[in-house]
């Protein structure tokens, strides 16, 4: 087996250890790597060099931590052994009496960063694409190679806890400010800097008095940890055990000493790894990693390179899309109706770039280049240069027909014409074009910079090359593309809409808005349905609810909501919707207090027929709102809108933020058991209406005792059947 590391020693006896896992693009702390490091440590302890520099021979990777695929194959004892070996190894590195330096030239995550933490000094290349940190918590684990115990000692409990609990990773300059690393240098100077640090180590910054006090004075420390515990519980609502365990480990490390801390780390991992939350989070992680490959299999045609793109419409979505394009280095011709609109679009893009700078993703010079890549026009010239056009203009079919007819004439025959429409049929829009095989949907989510999912919409006529070009572009923009059929709501909105509509019905029946929202947050949604409606905007939501649902899927909009729209109670954008959004609070921090309910609207909703004195219990709310989503997902699968349950799981987590610890919408359903799901739907149908009737596919699988995951995914284009535009649900399977 090829080696995972090499060493070189310079004339001054400074040894550089070059990490280089054979045959892989990134370095990981694989079992083989650990073994070789152990052997190396034996040598170093026996005959110490003047100093040791840990570096990477791979151009864009330092060490990304444990190899999760290998970890996934380990049983409990193998895992415990792996953990112990890593801990012991890093402990030996930490104990070396000679200077140890980590020269970070690429992503340095998890175990990779723990190795760096065991070194005396850490220096990183000034490249904002590098990620540094301990993201284990996001996978339902904790840093278990000494990171949980070492980081608070390095930067103090107060600074370490937020970073550990959130699994925060950051680019080098931010990592420097946070104290995670000691120096940032120009990329070409990294090795030279490491050499310099080997000879003249930087003086360690001592912890402040306050930090030392918190660390050593028991009651102070316990108070800090309690506060963190309470805060975390408020955020996770008990759904994520990993951060809570992490706090236990930190406490043990301080109360009972470093060794005890390490032991606590091992025990915590073993217990977390076997739990459903971790397994589900890992599941989602692997789905995410595999998304591009899955799409490449579904769309094997080679994509065209995209150097020039055009964006039609510079509103919220259009400017977000343009921003993503220029961040990827693509030239953008931004088409707007008049100079004032173009000016607003440019300002929006600039704001997103400023946010990138504030969050350390870009430096100012890069934003100037990016901004220079956006060239607005109001006269539609220059479109022949576009390899792809993304239309994000007014959601009106006649208007889009005009746009596409124009594009058809102005663009090259091989250019892909994509629409960001969410409420119209891409097939209908494609009618305006002579060759509809070049028309696809590219559905981004709002806000574009934050939402990772993109639905690549295929019509019956969309060509393979157009689709693979669009999908490849989405990947280039750093998004996760999923292939969906051209059906109302595609996938995500289709699933979300009955959920929102049902929430409105429940409120209309008298259930308190805040209770419903809390119930859903406790279930695992990032925010409750009414908070979400306020974010989307009640007017937009109403439009969407009316047009994006397959017929019969969603109940009618309550009258009170129509009235609210008339009164301009549209949600966050007008300061008042289901909740009050006072202007000063507009940029709420995540830790702000709960929103105040708009009591006038609440009163309007409770005066309709059937207002009840007691509100339904939390579980009842959750089942009643989640099951319509499951039902829609089943329908989408049955109609061939998506190829597999895995795609639905990925899209539900990435597109809606749906309870990542549940592993996805379908996985949740299968965990609960399809028979149980069908039974509860029948109950709800009897109580509240036929809209709850289980989807035929769901009923069929439940009856046979089969699962969604067992359905063979449709590998090729031909098997994806699309709903005809009449909106009639045909039970069609090729």
């Amino acid at each position: 087996m090829e080696q995972a590391l090499q060493t070189t020693t310079d004339p001054d006896r400074v040894m550089t250890v070059w990490l280089d896992v054979a045959g892989k693009p990134v370095n990981t702390c694989s079992p083989q790597m650990l073994d070789e490091l152990v052997a190396l440590l034996d040598e170093i302890e026996h005959q110490p060099p003047a100093a040791v520099i840990f570096a990477s021979a791979k151009p864009r990777s330092f060490n990304a931590g444990a190899d999760l695929t290998e970890v996934g194959k380990m049983n409990a004892s193998a895992l415990a052994d792996y953990l112990a070996r890593g801990q012991a190894l890093f402990e030996r590195i930490a104990r070396l009496r000679i200077p140890t330096i980590a020269a970070i030239n690429g992503d340095c995550l998890g175990g990779g960063f723990e190795m760096a933490l065991a070194c005396n000094q850490r220096v990183a290349a000034d490249d904002s694409s590098i990620s540094i940190g301990l993201p284990e918590v996001k996978l339902g684990l904790i840093p278990a190679w000494g990171g949980t115990t070492r980081l608070p000692r390095l930067i103090g409990l107060r600074r370490a806890l937020p970073i550990l609990l959130a699994g925060k990773t950051m680019p080098p300059r931010k990592a420097l400010k946070a104290g995670l690393i000691d120096e940032v240098v120009r990329s070409e100077a990294l090795q030279a800097a490491a050499g310099r640090l080997a000879r003249e180590p930087l003086r360690r910054r001592k912890l402040s008095m306050a930090d030392r006090a918190i660390a050593s004075i028991g009651p102070l420390r316990r108070r800090a940890l309690e506060a963190a515990r309470a805060q975390t519980l408020e955020k996770t609502l008990g759904n994520y055990p990993a951060p809570m365990k992490l706090l236990d480990v930190v406490a043990a490390g301080y109360a009972d000493g470093f060794e005890a801390g390490l032991r606590a780390e091992r025990e915590a991992i073993t217990s977390l790894a076997s739990g459903p939350e971790c397994q589900n989070l890992l599941r989602v992680f692997f789905l995410r990693q595999g998304a591009k490959k899955r799409l490449a299999r579904q769309l094997p045609a080679p994509p065209h390179a995209v150097h020039y793109a055009a964006v039609i419409g510079g509103g919220t979505m259009g400017s977000g899309i343009a921003h993503a394009l220029v961040r990827a280095g693509i030239q953008v011709r931004l088409v707007e109706v008049n100079p004032a609109a173009a000016s607003s679009a440019l300002a929006r893009i600039r704001k997103m770039l400023d946010q990138d700078v504030a969050e350390g993703r870009l430096d100012k010079l890069a934003t100037r280049h990016a901004m220079n890549h956006v060239v607005p026009t109001t006269d539609w010239t220059g479109l022949r240069l576009a390899d792809i056009v993304i239309e994000a203009a007014f959601e009106d079919l006649a208007a889009k027909h005009q746009v596409f007819a124009r594009l058809d004439k102005l663009c090259r025959p091989d250019a892909v014409l994509a629409t960001n429409t969410s409420s119209l049929r891409v097939t209908d829009i494609a009618r305006a074009v002579a060759n509809p095989s070049r028309v696809v949907g590219l559905h981004f989510f709002n806000p574009v910079p934050k939402m990772p999912l993109v639905e690549v919409v295929r019509t019956a006529q969309s060509g393979d090359e157009a689709l693979s070009t669009a999908a490849a572009l989405a990947g280039q923009l750093g998004k996760i593309p999923v292939l969906v059929g051209d059906s109302p709501g595609f996938l995500v909105n289709r699933v979300l809409i009955p959920y929102l509509a049902e929430a409105l019905v429940m409120a209309d029946e008298g259930a308190p808005i805040a209770t419903i929202d809390l119930a859903m947050k406790r279930w695992g949604m990032p925010m409750g349905p009414f908070e979400l409606l306020d974010e989307i905007g009640l007017d937009v939501a109403a439009l969407v609810l009316r047009s994006e649902s397959p017929s019969g899927a969603a109940p009618a909009l309550p009258a009170a909501v129509e009235q609210a729209i008339v009164q301009k109670w549209l949600g966050k954008k007008t300061g008042r919707g289901f909740y009050m959004h006072p202007a000063t609070d507009r940029k709420r921090s995540k830790n702000a207090g709960p929103l105040e309910v708009n009591t006038e609207l609440a009163a309007m909703m409770n005066t309709t027929v059937g207002a009840r004195a007691e509100s339904p219990d939390e579980q009842a709310i959750q089942w009643r709102l989640v099951l319509p989503m499951v039902n829609q997902a089943a329908g989408a699968l049955r109609e061939g809108v998506v190829d597999s349950a895995d795609t639905i799981d990925l899209a539900s987590v990435m597109g809606m933020g749906l309870a990542p610890f549940r592993g996805g919408l379908i996985h949740f359903a299968e965990t609960a058991g399809l028979a149980e799901i069908a039974r509860r739907l029948d109950e709800l149908a009897a109580q509240h209406g036929q809209r709850f009737a289980p989807d035929s596919l769901l009923r069929d699988l439940a009856a046979r005792g089969a699962t969604f995951s067992e359905l063979t995914p449709a590998p090729s284009a031909a098997n994806m059947v699309l709903v005809p535009t009449t909106g009639v649900n045909t039970h069609a399977h090729l």
Partner: protein
């Protein structure tokens, strides 16, 4: 037999920013950004990918201190690949035209097929200069290591070291004859008997023509989005639609206070702006099936007495006509840069003067007549402004677009150049 080759140089299309009075809408816009936007817009209008440009050449006079070779800086901002060379040329007021001529020469030499050529100027950002005598004490301060030495160095400063000099004023003064440009116009006014009234009438016409042409000029203008708020600037702000003879008559002469006739009203305005076009090998353009605005038939420059630099166009035109074998009467449309009304009027008189032809041009007949109805038909620098490095290119673009409108065959643009030169270009549409 004819001096000029069969035209092998085409101009495909171009774009310019609005022209704005210095100190107004573009006062914080860097000249490289003005240039960049015209380069990008030109490429989009020509539907040419940035990677297919062979060379970039732009005229610029003030030369920003923080962007050496502004053409190169602008080209890189514009997304033109690193591998495409770029240069900045300077022939004072004719720099923009010189850029087009340089592009044509590159193409004729077979060194390039597609060249972005133009000119840009930010007169707003012309620096205020410390006098050169201040360099020594400032340098001593910078080098001084201790507080004591710094104090010693500081003691060498004098009040005169802090009196700033407007580089603009310096730049507009020719050191070899010690005259600011306006003074040379006064000399011509007297020599050719151009009255104050004639100058003011000419200035009024410039404003009227520019105001009337505002819609037409939209064809060549590409909006610029200025500043942090991306304020859309869509039109030239120099032309005064409500200019009156009375308002012009009230102005006092600025270059010769007592007996002069040249005022701010009948001189060109100090302005910011940029213009760009794609100059290409005509055969290449034809093979690619690209639309062409016109062709470069010839270019000429001539030198003359710096104190009478305003006559530069006449000498350059003389050369160009000889070179191309074309006669003045064949030319359907003219752009003669309106540095000063007096100067353009003097040129027109010289062009039609047999005596001038004999004495100064060595011709037995005068050059011909320039019909005022065919001269600067959409207004000139008196109304639109004269961003010095850009104007030469702007005139070519404006002329070609108007030739297209009129389906004209031959057009000529010419400028006078501070320091005693003239430049002229002959354009044709086949």
């Amino acid at each position: 037999m004819t001096g000029a080759d069969q035209s092998s140089v085409a101009i495909l299309n171009g774009a310019r920013t609005p022209l704005t009075r210095a100190g107004t809408l573009f006062k914080e816009v860097h000249v490289t950004d003005l240039a960049r936007s015209t380069m990008q817009e030109t490429l989009y209008r020509c539907e040419l990918a940035a990677g297919r440009v062979d060379e970039v050449v732009f005229g610029n006079v003030v030369m920003p201190a923080d962007a050496a070779n502004p053409a190169r800086v602008a080209a890189l901002w514009a997304g033109i690949p690193n591998a495409v060379p770029a240069l900045t040329v300077q022939r004072n007021c004719a720099s923009g035209m010189e850029a087009v001529a340089h592009a044509a020469a590159s193409i004729r030499a077979g060194d390039a097929q597609a060249v972005l050529a133009g000119g840009a100027e930010s007169m707003s950002m012309t620096p205020l200069l410390f006098p050169h005598s201040a360099v020594a004490p400032f340098t001593a301060m910078a080098k001084a290591k201790s507080a004591f030495r710094k104090a010693a160095a500081a003691s060498h400063f004098r009040p005169r070291h802090f009196k700033p000099v407007a580089a603009l004023e310096c730049g507009l003064t020719d050191p070899t004859c010690g005259m600011i440009m306006g003074k040379t116009a006064e000399i011509l006014a007297r020599e050719f008997g151009v009255t104050r009234k004639e100058q003011d009438d000419f200035a009024l016409r410039s404003h009227q023509k520019a105001a009337a042409a505002a819609d037409k000029l939209n064809d060549e203008i590409s909006p610029y989005y200025a500043g942090e708020r991306f304020e859309p600037v869509t039109a030239d702000n120099g032309p005064r639609p409500n200019q009156t003879p009375e308002a012009l008559a009230k102005l006092k002469p600025i270059f010769e206070r007592r007996d002069g006739t040249v005022t701010v009203g009948n001189s060109c305005q100090v302005t910011d702006g940029a213009a760009c076009m794609l100059v290409a090998n005509a055969d290449w353009a034809r093979a690619e099936g690209r639309d062409v605005l016109g062709y470069v038939r010839g270019y000429a420059v001539a030198g003359l007495d710096p104190s009478r630099m305003g006559l530069g166009p006449v000498f350059a035109i003389d050369r160009l006509l000889r070179k191309t074998g074309v006669s003045l009467n064949d030319i359907g449309l003219f752009e003669i840069n309106e540095a000063f009304a007096a100067q353009v009027l003097a040129c027109l008189k010289a062009i039609g003067s047999p005596e001038f032809a004999r004495k100064s041009l060595g011709r037995s007949e005068p050059l011909g007549e320039v019909d005022p109805e065919r001269l600067n038909v959409n207004g000139g620098a008196i109304a639109l402004g004269h961003p010095v490095g850009a104007t030469g290119a702007r005139l070519v673009l404006t002329l070609l677009m108007e030739m297209r409108r009129r389906d004209g065959e031959l057009g000529m643009a010419a400028l006078c150049v501070g320091g005693g030169q003239g430049a002229a270009i002959l354009l044709e549409r086949k």
